[in-house]
């Protein structure tokens, strides 16, 4: 809890601690402290809040023009499959027709997991239990979506670390298939960022962005105690906006990202 007071060394240290503890990272925190030191007036917390609001910019909304395909990518265990289901619910509730594609052909029971969600959502899913090629499943999914005039195809992909070049190439191949074989589909790619993770998330995004243009991030597991402060660096250094936050394990646990609410939760 930061007390609204004039800038003193103690209050600067307290601010620094709070922000570092929320995983904002050293360089972002240094920038914020510089601002506070330069303009040391009363009530510097408002100063910080304004700076943060400016950094994160205005709420970005994804424009989903029919037909669209949304690739959901990210590191292992960050919440992709669960987020795919939540996004399907979100857009279905907006009246869009949604199709799911189970393009994680690698991990044990990945298809079964998405299948459970598709049944709960009453949304169709395209998969191929026998395939080891995510691109071919994606192809089948888009073909099916085309013939049924689906508004939005949401693609669940396998978790991957950017340290595996072959897995990053796999993503590039999926993007190529969409661009070359289904150019009428608008492509948008979303990356899941686990709020528990530290500075490596910035590096993850940087590397993933080399293989697939990212339109936004979903900050997952924000119902825990981690605050995912890396979002400032994601926006400032990589121009990646957070579009949604995950606040639980159920279909309804997806909120549109609200910068002011998020900033308030950081600054108490």
């Amino acid at each position: 809890q930061i007390v609204k007071e004039k800038v003193s060394l103690q209050s600067l240290e307290q601010l620094e601690e709070t922000l570092l503890a929320s995983d904002l990272g050293l360089s972002t925190v240094d920038d914020i402290l510089d601002i506070v030191k330069k303009h040391s007036k009363e009530n510097f917390i408002n100063e910080v809040a304004d700076y943060m609001q400016q950094s994160l910019g205005h709420e970005k909304e994804l424009e989903i023009k029919s037909p669209s395909v949304m690739l959901v990518v990210g590191v292992n265990g960050t919440g992709k499959t669960t987020t795919v289901a939540k996004l399907a619910k979100y857009y279905k509730d907006q009246g869009k027709s949604v199709l799911l594609v189970a393009a994680d052909t690698y991990r044990a029971a990945a298809i079964a997991q998405l299948h459970q969600w598709s049944k709960r959502l009453n949304v169709r899913m395209v998969c191929n239990e026998k395939s080891q090629d995510p691109t071919s499943v994606l192809f089948d999914g888009l073909k099916s979506a085309k013939s049924e005039n689906i508004d939005l195809v949401i693609v669940d992909t396998a978790g991957r670390l950017h340290t595996y070049k072959n897995l990053m190439n796999e993503l590039e191949k999926m993007v190529r298939v969409i661009r070359d074989r289904f150019p009428e589909f608008n492509l948008c790619s979303i990356m899941t960022i686990d709020a528990n993770l530290g500075q490596n998330s910035l590096h993850q995004v940087r590397e993933f962005a080399k293989s697939v243009h990212l339109d936004g991030a979903v900050l997952t597991k924000m119902d825990g105690t981690a605050r995912g402060g890396i979002v400032f660096a994601l926006k400032n250094e990589l121009d990646l906006p957070v579009l949604f936050i995950g606040i639980g394990e159920e279909l309804n646990d997806l909120n549109e990202f609200a910068a002011d609410e998020y900033i308030n939760s950081l600054l108490g």
Binding site: A21, Q113, L197
Partner: protein, 290 residues
């Protein structure tokens, strides 16, 4: 040459020349920066540096000719010591020996269950894995699929009561002369009272030989909060750090070790079933210091 390895720190310290009382503060700040960049928790980093300073003063390094080099050597050795300079074993004395896996969502518990099972199977032990995650869609199928892959049986009761599932599984294992039982549990938040009660209940009923905290090596500052909460709820006997095949510096290792006081026993180094290695503190210290 230690200074070649930790180029980043050394370059920063070199500029400071001889370490004196006046620039020890600056030196400490530089070390703190390196640790924070590596995701070591702020308070853990502070405590670590205080400890290192005391040690440095004790060995008169601050008066030596090449203070930077000496100082880094102390930091490196102290970091290895903190991470645990002994290799930790798994308690296999139970009949059967029961291992309870615990941790946050998505940290790698289910995959690690199977990796451990494969490792013990390779040592000619009879293993049983238990599907006690009745919440996550297809969690049971996931463990069963892995079980088929490594040829290890999986005990499940479908969507039953996790406590009963674990108790019944251990009873069955006893009667079938199984050597090791591995209990896969649902990912849970340390602030979810009900779920923390559930895993305490499992521990209480089953009295496992090992309670392993499975944590993502890429975890940031909050590692202290979650690790502390788990260690207060359960008498953890060890930690397994996963996804070390990424390039995160892994400072969470220091935070978790400091806060739980338990040894880091294994490192997850790939998604594959052979992707489990004994934890190597020296390699980890290298990685953290960058």
């Amino acid at each position: 040459q230690i200074t070649d390895r930790f180029d980043t720190i050394f370059r920063r310290l070199r500029g400071l020349g001889k370490i004196t009382d006046t620039n020890i503060q600056e030196t400490s700040r530089e070390i703190r920066r390196v640790l924070l960049e590596a995701d070591v928790n702020l308070q853990v980093a502070r405590d670590f540096i205080t400890h290192v300073k005391v040690k440095a003063e004790g060995t008169k390094v601050l008066k030596s000719i090449k203070p930077g080099e000496q100082f880094i050597k102390i930091i490196y050795e102290e970091l290895i010591h903190v991470l645990g300079d002994e290799t930790a074993e798994i308690d296999l004395n139970g009949k059967p020996s029961v291992i309870l896996m615990a941790g946050l969502q998505g940290s790698g518990k289910t995959t690690t269950c199977a990796k451990l099972a494969k490792m013990f199977t390779n040592q000619n032990k009879k293993v049983l894995m238990v599907a006690a995650d009745v919440y996550r869609p297809a969690a049971i199928e996931q463990l069963q699929s892995l079980g088929r892959q490594i040829d290890v049986p999986v005990y499940d009761e479908g969507l039953g009561d996790p406590v009963a599932i674990c108790v019944n599984a251990v009873a069955k294992a006893k009667s079938e002369k199984v050597d090791i039982v591995i209990l896969d549990t649902a990912g849970r938040l340390h602030i979810d009272g009900e779920m923390m009660n559930e895993i305490q209940h499992i521990w209480d009923e089953v009295k496992p030989n090992e309670i392993l905290f499975v944590a993502d090596s890429m975890t940031g500052q909050d590692a202290v909060t979650s690790a502390k909460a788990f260690s207060e709820a359960l008498p953890l006997t060890g930690t397994i750090l996963t996804k070390l095949d990424g390039d995160a510096r892994g400072g969470a290792a220091v935070s978790i070790r400091q806060v739980t006081g338990t040894p880091i026993k294994f490192a997850g180094v790939s998604e594959k079933m052979d992707g489990l290695e004994p934890f190597n503190p020296k390699q980890m210290a290298d990685r953290i210091l960058g």
